[in-house]
Symmetry: C2
Subunit: 327 residues, 2 copies
C-alpha cells in the first residue's frame, strides 16, 4: 500500500489501496489485459434523457473485470508463493480469472466450486487450466474445502474481493474509464463482494471528486444497501437473484471504502434486471450477464435521477449460459 492510501484516512483501520496502488496495478497488468472500449447507445440515451457511457468489461479477458484483480494479485506474489501454486473459491468469473492469471505466471491453480455449479462455468475454469475441487453448495463446505486445499497443498489464496491487490486491480477499469470519458456526473457499478465498487470508488473519489459514485444491487441480495445504512456489515441470507455474481456479502476490506466514498447504494427488482439485460443485448448488441445489467436496471426503475446527466456504467461481465436465457 502506498503513502497515498495511508493518507486517505479511512473510517476504519482496515487496509485500503490508494489511487497510486491502482496506477501501479494498471502498469503491472497492462501487457495482459484489454483496454476495453466505451460505448454509447442513442436509443438508451433517448429512453433515459441522459448520456450513458458503457465501459465494456464484458469484453475483458475471461469476459469480466475480474481478470484485472486476479492478474494484479498474481503479478504481485513472491517467487516462493508462485512456486507453491494458488487457490481460490468461485462459482464463476473469479475462478476463470485466477486460472488464466496463474497460467500467465506459469503456476498451477485450484478453484473450489460448488458441486451444483453449471457445466458452462466449470468448463470455463477448466479451459483456462485450473484444477477444480468440488464442495457442497454452502458456505461452510466451501470454506472448509478451500482451507483444506490451502493447508495440504501450501497454496496461496487469491481472494475474490477482500484483498488490497484485488481491489487495486479492479480499480484499473475506472482509471481507464475516466481517461476515456473525463466529465462524468455519475459512475455506477454493481456490488456483490464490493471489489469492483471499492476499486472504482478509490479512483473516482481521488481523480474526479465531483462525480457521484453509486452502487447498484439486486433487492434480493441487498446486504450492502442495508449495511451502508446501518454503518456495519449485515450479512446476506440466502439470496435468490438471477445476478449470480452479486450473491456474496460485502467484504471487511471493501465495505469501509464503499462507506467512505460511495454516495448511495440503490436496489433493483429481478424483473428490471432481466429487462435491462435484454435491452442491452437488443440495443447495444453487447452480450452482458445479469449482474452487469443491475446499474442500468436501476436507471430503468428511476432509482437514480440521471436526467441530462453524463452517466458511466461499468458493464462488469458477459458470461452467460446461452441455453438458459431468462426471457
Amino acid at each position: 500500500m502506498s503513502e497515498d492510501a495511508a493518507s486517505a484516512g479511512l473510517l476504519s483501520d482496515t487496509p485500503a489501496p490508494g489511487v497510486a496502488d491502482v496506477r501501479a496495478a494498471a502498469v503491472r497488468i497492462a501487457p495482459h489485459v484489454h483496454l476495453t472500449p466505451v460505448m454509447r447507445c442513442t436509443a438508451i440515451d433517448d429512453m433515459l434523457g441522459a448520456r450513458v457511457h458503457f465501459k465494456c468489461e464484458n469484453l475483458q479477458k475471461v469476459g469480466a473485470f475480474k481478470f484485472r484483480g486476479a492478474c494484479n494479485t498474481l503479478l504481485s506474489l513472491t517467487d516462493a508463493q508462485i512456486e507453491s501454486g494458488i487457490a481460490t473459491h468461485s462459482s464463476g468469473n473469479h475462478g476463470a480469472a485466477v486460472a488464466l492469471a496463474a497460467r500467465l505466471r506459469g503456476t498451477s491453480s485450484v478453484v473450489v466450486m460448488p458441486s451444483n455449479t453449471s457445466a458452462v462455468k466449470q468448463a470455463a475454469v477448466a479451459h483456462y487450466g485450473a484444477r477444480i475441487v468440488h464442495c457442497e453448495p454452502n458456505e461452510q463446505s466451501r470454506t472448509e474445502t478451500l482451507e483444506g486445499v490451502l493447508a495440504e497443498e501450501g497454496r496461496t489464496l487469491v481472494h475474490p474481493f477482500d484483498d488490497v491487490r484485488v481491489i487495486a486491480g479492479q480499480g484499473t477499469a475506472a482509471l481507464e474509464f475516466l481517461e476515456q470519458v473525463p466529465d462524468l456526473d455519475i459512475v455506477m457499478a454493481p456490488v456483490g463482494g464490493g471489489g469492483l465498487l471499492s476499486g472504482t470508488a478509490t479512483v473516482v473519489a481521488a481523480l474526479s471528486p465531483r462525480t457521484r459514485i453509486i452502487g447498484a444491487e439486486p433487492a434480493a441480495a441487498d446486504d450492502t444497501f442495508r449495511s451502508f445504512r446501518a454503518g456495519h456489515i449485515i450479512p446476506v441470507g440466502v439470496p435468490d437473484t438471477i445476478a449470480d455474481g452479486l450473491r456474496t456479502t460485502v467484504g471487511e476490506l471493501t465495505f469501509p471504502i464503499i462507506r467512505k466514498h460511495v454516495a448511495d447504494i440503490v436496489r433493483v427488482s429481478e424483473d428490471a434486471i432481466v429487462e435491462a439485460m435484454r435491452l442491452t443485448w437488443q440495443r447495444t448488441k453487447l452480450v452482458i450477464e445479469a449482474s452487469a445489467a443491475v446499474p442500468l436496471a436501476a436507471l430503468l426503475e428511476g432509482a437514480v435521477d440521471v436526467r441530462d446527466a453524463r452517466v458511466g456504467i461499468i458493464l462488469s461481465g458477459g458470461n452467460v449460459d446461452l441455453d438458459a436465457l431468462p426471457w
Copy 2:
C-alpha cells in the same frame, strides 16, 4: 461515378463506383455514421490457427452496415427528390436504414414489407419513422406494391443494393477496416444482393491488391456461388436459410464487380451458421445476426485455408429476435 471508376475497366458496361466514390461517400456520411471498432478474440484465433479481425458493423447505426449505403444515397439526392420523399422495399435492415437516413434528411419514407415480416422488424422500421406498406410475401406483389407507391406518390427509390451510391456507401466499411488493420491477407463478407461484397471488393482491390476477397453464402441460397461459376446471374429459387439478410439474388450492378475482384465465393451449411453465430456471442460477447455469422461459419467448416493468415471479417449486422434464437 468518378474518373477512377470509369477507368476501372469492368467486365460489363454496367455502372460501378470507384474507390474515389467510396472516399467521397465516407466524407459525406462521416457526421452520421459510427466509425465501428475492430475486435479480436483469442479463443477463436486459437481454434482456427489464424488471426481474425472482426469489423463490428453490428455496432453501426440501426445495427447493420446498411445504414452506410442508405445514408450515402439520401445525402446524394437532389432537393426535389428529397421534397417528394423516398421509398424502398425491405424485410429488415435496409428498411430501418432508409427510414433513419430519411429522417436525417428531413423527408418521409415508405417501406414496402411482406405482411408476414416479424413484428420486431416492423417495429424497428416504424421506430425510425417510416410508413410501412404491406405486400404479399412474394416477389411479384412486392414489386407491384413498390411500383405503385413510387408512381402514385412520386417518391424516389432507394434500392437495397443495385445502386452505385449504395455500393459506394457500403464500401466505406472496408475503407475504415483497411485503415484499422492494414495488413490483411484475406477479407470476407457475406453475400446476399451483393452490396456489401461489391463495395468491399471495390475498396480492397484498389487499396490492398494482395488481399484475397472472399464472399460467403449459405448453401441454401447459393445463387452468387453458382452465378460466379457460370459467369452470369442465376436467380435464387425460394431460399430456406436462417440467414434472412442473404436470401436475395445477386444484383445486375453488384455481380460484375464481384466477378471482377472477388477471389472466390464459398458456401456454408445452416448448422455451421448457427454454430458460428453462437460461438461469436459466447466468445466475443457480440450479438450478431445469422447473416453476419456466415463468413466465420465458412472458416469453421474449413472452406477457406486461413492457417497463419490475417483474416478480416465484416460482421454485417446484429438485429436478432431475442425470443426466437436458433439454438
